[in-house]
Each structure stands twice: as structure tokens, then as C-alpha cells.
Amino acid sequence: MIQYILNSLFPFEKPYTKAQHLYFRGFELIITFYTIKYTWEWLLYSRQNVDVVLPLGIAHYFDVSFFFSYYPNVILSIVTSIAVILGFAKIWRAGSYTIAMIGLHLAYATRFSLGEIPHSMNMIGMGLFSLMLASCFYKDDAKRSVMAFGFAFFYVGLAYTSASISKLIATGITWVDGRHLWLWMNEKSIDILSREGVFAFNILQETAFESWGISTLILIFGLTAEAFGFLFWFPKTRPFAATLILGMHVGILLSMNIWFGSYMVELIYIGYPWVCWLGKIGKKASSNQTLTVLSNPC
């Protein structure tokens, strides 16, 4: 079984086409973009922090309030950004991605030292971690690509399936009781009211409040979608798992106003066999020679 999972995650025997190379570069570009975006957003925000309320990760050993002040803050932003750009530009990739990973971790620990522990950017962190490891072990793009994608697939699947197990351990099967959704919708409504000054429930929320059954069904769908997260490990079931998870995130957005933007981008990008699909389109559109040459029919 373990061998089957590993073969599914890391198909080294598959040919590495130009299309797959472009697809991998696209993945690196997404990670590079979000690394820069988050580094600057987090560190710019943390300049107004005055106290470390909840130390996270490296903040247990290093006083991240050092980065609240201007120069350390700007230097960390610049170093992390340059490092990830160098990694993308294939200049000292292993070292560059490692520095970017450390920088992004420090930026996260600095920004979220006030008590909030968001998970909506974790997949970007895991993506950078995957690129860092793959760059440390392989110089060849083909193998780097297989290893990086394999790690990303594995940790996406693990995250969701383990989240569903957490729910069953912490609450049990009664987790799906619709009243729990009512409680969470009220909780998130206070966050939005507090942030925006106004709040109104949408149609889905109103419907869920009116019907315990619908509310329960929404939670059953969420728990089921998470439980099947491990299907992300296998090429044939990956699009199915991606669609379930994306559906769940749309449900979370509509019912609880929680938006996992970068998560969704990454899931859409790695969850579907775009290279394969483009290959089929390329074959059909025989006049489009560029697509035919680039693509890899599956």
C-alpha cells in the first residue's frame, strides 16, 4: 500500500515534456508571487504591533518583536523577496528557497504574534517547503518537479483528512449537528460586523438558520469532503478530491465568510491535470501546432 501511494505521488518514470516544465514553472511562479505578497503584507502590518501575545513557531526561541521596528522589518521583507525571486530564476535554488522559507516563517511568526492563528496561507508555506526540499535534493528540473508536486499533493491530502479525523476525535459524529453551524455563523458574523461596521446574513445563511436539516446537511458535506482529502494522493481521484474540497471552501465562504484565496488558487492549479487536458485540446486542434508540441496527451 505504501509503495502504491509513493508511486502515485512520485511518478518519476513519466516523461518530462515541455508542457510539464511550463506547468511546473507556473507552480513556482504562484509560490513566488504569494511568498512576496504575504511577506510584505504581514511585515507591513506587524509594524503596528507592540507586544507578542502568543509566540508561534520560532517565536518561542527568538523575540520576533525585533521585526516590529522599521529597519529589521524592511530588511527581512527585501531579503525574503530577493531570495524567492533568485530561487525562481534558478540562481542558487536550494539556498535561495531555504532563505525564503526561513524568511516567510519569521514573517508569519511576527505578524501572527497577537493571538490569531490563521491556516489559509498554509498551502503556500507547504508549497515553498516542497520547492525548497526538491531543490536541495535535485538539480534536474524533471526530478525536482516530481518531488515538489508529490510533497504538495501529500500535504494537501494529509491536511484535509487529518482535519476530519480531528473533528471526529474532538466532538464525535454529533459534529454534524446543524446547531453547531448556527453557532459558527453567529461567531463569524461578529467578526465581519466588527471589521466592517455592518453585517447581513445571506440567503444560504438565512436558509441554514431556518432549517436544522439543511444546516446539518451542509456540515455532513463538509466533513465528507475533508475525509476524502487523501484521494488527492492518487492521479485518477485527484480532480474528484479537488472538486470536493473546492466545493467545501465555497460553502465555507458562503456560510461563514471565510475566504481561503491562495489555498483555492493552489488547489485549482495542482488539483487538475491541466497538462493532460491541454494535450487533448492540442490534439483535436491539429492546426494549433504550438499546443501540440507543448502538450503531453495522457
Partner: protein, 159 residues
């Protein structure tokens, strides 16, 4: 061959993940466990701020949220993150001068000449009838020249 090699690296990474998450309360970003929404049905605490006229008389009564009479302050408009603010309100154990100063400094963009702010802890729970009840508990009042803490908080921290 390559697959087994990478499999071993994956195994080591899972081990590192487990060790770091277990020794850091589940969080060593991006290594995280995902316990959010695991404990269903538990009461929750958030926070919000309402504005009142400087001469409004206020008291420390906890009220259902729909009975509050102040004007809601959009924290976004004063560049305060609502989640950070909620954590600040709910995780502060001792409301000493430093803490109150840190709270006040978050609202430096507010013109206190024309308003005073009440920082509420908002509490939600499912009552015995299975309905959700949401109540606001005034914690701190910020005015032009005063920062007042709900007396019950001082009693709690002294006891």
C-alpha cells in the same frame, strides 16, 4: 529507486512535522494541525467596539447584542484587525497600565473629542432550548481623558 529515496525523505519530513507540531502546541508554520472547528458546540468569545457620544452615560451591564444602542465602529476604518483585537480582549488576563496603553494605542486614529468607545467582549453559546444566544459584555471604556476597566475584571484578576 528514486521513488523510494523520495519516500524516505517524505517519511523524515512527516516525522519532523510531527515533532515540531507536537512540541509547539500544533503550530510550527507551515506545519500545523488543523483543529479549527473541531470542538463543535463550544461557547465562543469575540470582540467589537461601539461608539457613543462623549456625554452618554454608560454602565457595565451585559446585554443581548441586539439591545446595544451605540454606533458600530468598523475596525477596518481605523486599521485594526478584528481577530487580533478579539484575541487581545479575550486573552488579556491582567488589565494593567501597559495593557490598557497598548489597547488605547490601537485607536490613535479615533478623534476622542467627539466620541467615546466601548470595547465589548462578545459571547455566544447554545442555550438549553437549543437556540444561539449572543451577548455583549463591556470590558473597557475609552474617552478623551479616561480609560475605564469593567470593575468585575479587576475583581477577577485580584481573586
Amino acid at each position: 529507486m528514486e521513488t523510494n529515496r523520495v519516500g524516505k525523505i517524505l517519511g523524515i519530513s512527516i516525522l519532523v512535522f510531527g515533532l515540531l507540531a507536537a512540541s509547539h502546541k500544533g503550530e510550527f508554520w507551515p506545519f500545523s494541525i488543523y483543529p479549527m472547528f473541531s470542538k463543535a458546540g463550544n461557547p465562543w468569545n469575540r470582540a467589537m467596539v461601539q461608539q457613543y457620544a462623549p456625554d452618554d452615560s454608560l454602565n457595565w451591564t451585559m446585554l443581548p447584542i441586539e439591545e446595544l444602542t451605540g454606533k458600530q465602529l468598523a475596525l477596518k476604518s481605523v486599521s485594526v484587525d478584528p481577530i487580533d483585537f478579539a484575541n487581545f480582549i479575550n486573552k488579556t488576563k491582567v488589565w494593567d497600565e501597559k495593557r490598557l496603553e497598548a489597547l488605547r494605542s490601537q485607536f490613535y486614529r479615533v478623534d476622542f473629542a467627539n466620541t467615546k468607545l466601548v470595547c465589548y467582549r462578545v459571547h455566544g453559546e447554545i442555550n438549553q432550548d437549543g437556540d444561539v444566544v449572543v451577548e455583549a459584555d463591556p470590558y473597557v471604556i475609552l474617552s478623551a481623558n479616561q480609560t475605564l476597566v469593567n470593575p468585575k475584571l479587576q475583581t477577577e484578576q485580584n481573586s
